[in-house]
Amino acid sequence: MLHKMLHQIFAVFIIVVMAAFSNVIAQDKISNYDLNSLVHKHVPMVDHSQFDVLKKDFKTPQEVTETCLSCHNKAHEGLMKTSHWLWTETNTQSKRGEHKYGKYNSVNNFCISIQGNWARCTSCHAGYGYENNEFDFTNKSNIDCLVCHDQSGTYKKFPTKAGYPVTEETVFPENNVKFLPPDYNKIAQSVGIPKRQNCGACHYSGGGGNNVKHGDLEKALNKTTKKVDVHMGIDGANMRCAECHTTENHNITGQLYIVATDNEDRVSCTDCHEPNIHNNPILNRHTETIACQTCHIPEYAKVNPTKMSWDWSKAGENRKPSEIEKFHGKEPTYNKKKGEFTFGLNVKPDYVFFNGTAEQVHFGDKIDPTKPVVMNQLNGSYLDGKSKIIPVKVFTGKQIYDSELNTFIAPKLFGQPGTGAYWAEFDWGKASESGMKAAGLPYSGKYGFVSTVAYWRINHMVSPKDAAVSCNECHVPEGGRLAKLESEGLYIPGRDRNATLDSIGYFLLIATFFGVLGHGLLRIVFASKRK
């Protein structure tokens, strides 16, 4: 009786096991996310081409701004508090406390600093005339509304005119691109909410060229496919930047840890997506320690190359064009003004633990020139309970520093001959003196070159779900994507092992196997002797 009952319970158990296995197979299907259903279709409420004030003859771009503000008479209030205008904001770091920081006073390992180089750098300022530290950040007439709101696609700020467009036809000698004076009536009448082209006008070309800095933001995104970026692909959701980078009073969310270390105004995948969206519970468990981007951006610089390193110390040499290698036959790896570069195309990111906070090296900070200086240390560890593994572009550089004071130098690069500008005179001594004077920083007169490292978060160029990083790209003993990732207490199944335990364990298995084999052979030998 008891046995019969046990058999019945056992049969139920077998059925449960079978059901569990059929569940394994059923879990293969992946949820379908219809991007198109999420996109807010913007319907303009006004047609600016019908406004008479926009038909008058504009002499200066400031006149356009004043006209904009005559109707949008509160728009400047929010904008003038943003980092797009101030190029600085308040940051709080553990070691430094509260401080003002931004492009205004920062140092990086691309073009180093805006100090002394304003007119070149501020071609990407959302204003007009930011040509020195005396710029009046309270004058609302100097706001550039058009660079973000032009929908005619014809408004261009000239690369070296402190944010101004040209007043007569001008060729930019660096790349022989012709710049025409803007047709302010056409542009002002076209205005609308910013498209990818508007944001990209600056954000694609940081570092002095397309995709140089970010690696995941470049002009190819203006017209791309889902394969390159699942959100921006014109064969998919075709989303504008601001659909994720939500904006309030002109304050656009999303910041870089190069310039802004406070973990606020950030954009996150989970602003829209549920973190536990995967059908597979094992994948859902990954979201606690791994950022979405880590698996869903398998590569960056998918279309055009990005700069991976920059050695300023090699600048100033007169190399023949035939001696200069070109990356993929296109990007020269040497430029007399800038030095030596390396590039990457279809780059697999590096990975670090990151908890949302970062440290920075500022002008005036003591650096240790005997090892690479980390410009923006991303904080995080496996054990801190807050960090996730994120993908980054690691950009390495070699740049000028004060070898007596052990501080970074802000060299004057851009300018006319006689100003000390390196790009005109090729004299690092003069460039350092001139740049540090412009920046109001001490300079000993002695300089050297120091290696640097900067971390750039990779957040764009999200691939379609079927191209996501697969398990065995990380869970492998050697050569996986996370092969270099070290953090105390971290154990990645398939990658990690205790070498001593493994040696003892395998020895135990092999010894037992040969032990019983030997025992068996002895039995055969003795048995045959007995016969």
Binding site: N23, Y382, G494, R495, G505, L509, V516
Partner: protein, 200 residues
């Protein structure tokens, strides 16, 4: 005179072979996850390992329940009596064709060495491995586990250690099935339930 005696009921045979299948496949797949070799691919291996492991937890709990209500747990109570004789039998007697030092009856199926080995296996290693496996699987779901693990590392290393020990047991166990009065007598016994014993 030889006599066929029922040693293993249908349930015991089913349980034994199901557990054998689960432990063997868990070992094979587990060492793939460990990175020792690659057969199924990591993601498939992990999914199979999880379901096989959960099945073994279910089977183990059920089997404990069976042991308790049938009183069969008494078979596994180890003692030092006869361990020496049994050890000496495997070291020397077996080669000389000496008889088994312990009589095998349905009431006492395990010899003294088996009792010690099986007790370590079923009362220590298997439940430890099942607990470690559950911690491994749910380590970042503290609400579910009821405890917060700081790191996977100690769990993973202990899980590997116990895997080595159980695998070692399996090798020895398979070999020792050949030590009946014929090479396949014990295996046949576990399939049919019957083994031949000398009628005394």
């Amino acid at each position: 005179m030889k006599q066929k005696v029922l040693f293993y009921t249908r349930f015991e045979r089913l349980w034994h072979w199901l557990q054998a299948f689960l432990i063997l496949s868990l070992a094979v797949i587990g060492f793939e996850i460990h990175g020792t070799y690659s057969i199924f691919g990591f993601s498939t291996a992990v999914e199979y390992h999880n379901y096989l492991g959960l099945s073994l937890i279910g089977l183990y709990i059920f089997w404990i329940f069976w042991l308790m209500i049938t009183g069969q747990w008494r078979q596994y109570v180890p003692g030092m009596k006869g361990v020496y004789e049994q050890t000496m039998y495997y070291i020397s007697g077996i080669f000389k064709g000496a008889p088994h030092p312990t009589e095998k009856t349905p009431e006492s199926k395990l010899n003294p060495m088996q009792k010690v080995a099986y007790f370590v296996l079923v009362a220590i290693l298997i439940p430890l491995q099942l607990v470690l496996g559950a911690l491994y699987l749910f380590y970042n779901e503290p609400e579910f586990l009821g405890i917060q693990l700081e790191s996977l590392q100690p769990v993973a290393i202990l899980h590997t250690l116990v895997a080595f020990l159980i695998s070692t047991f399996v090798i020895a166990h398979i070999y020792l099935t050949t030590t009946g009065h014929t090479l396949t007598a014990y295996i046949k016994g576990m399939v049919t339930g019957y083994e031949e014993v000398d009628h005394k």
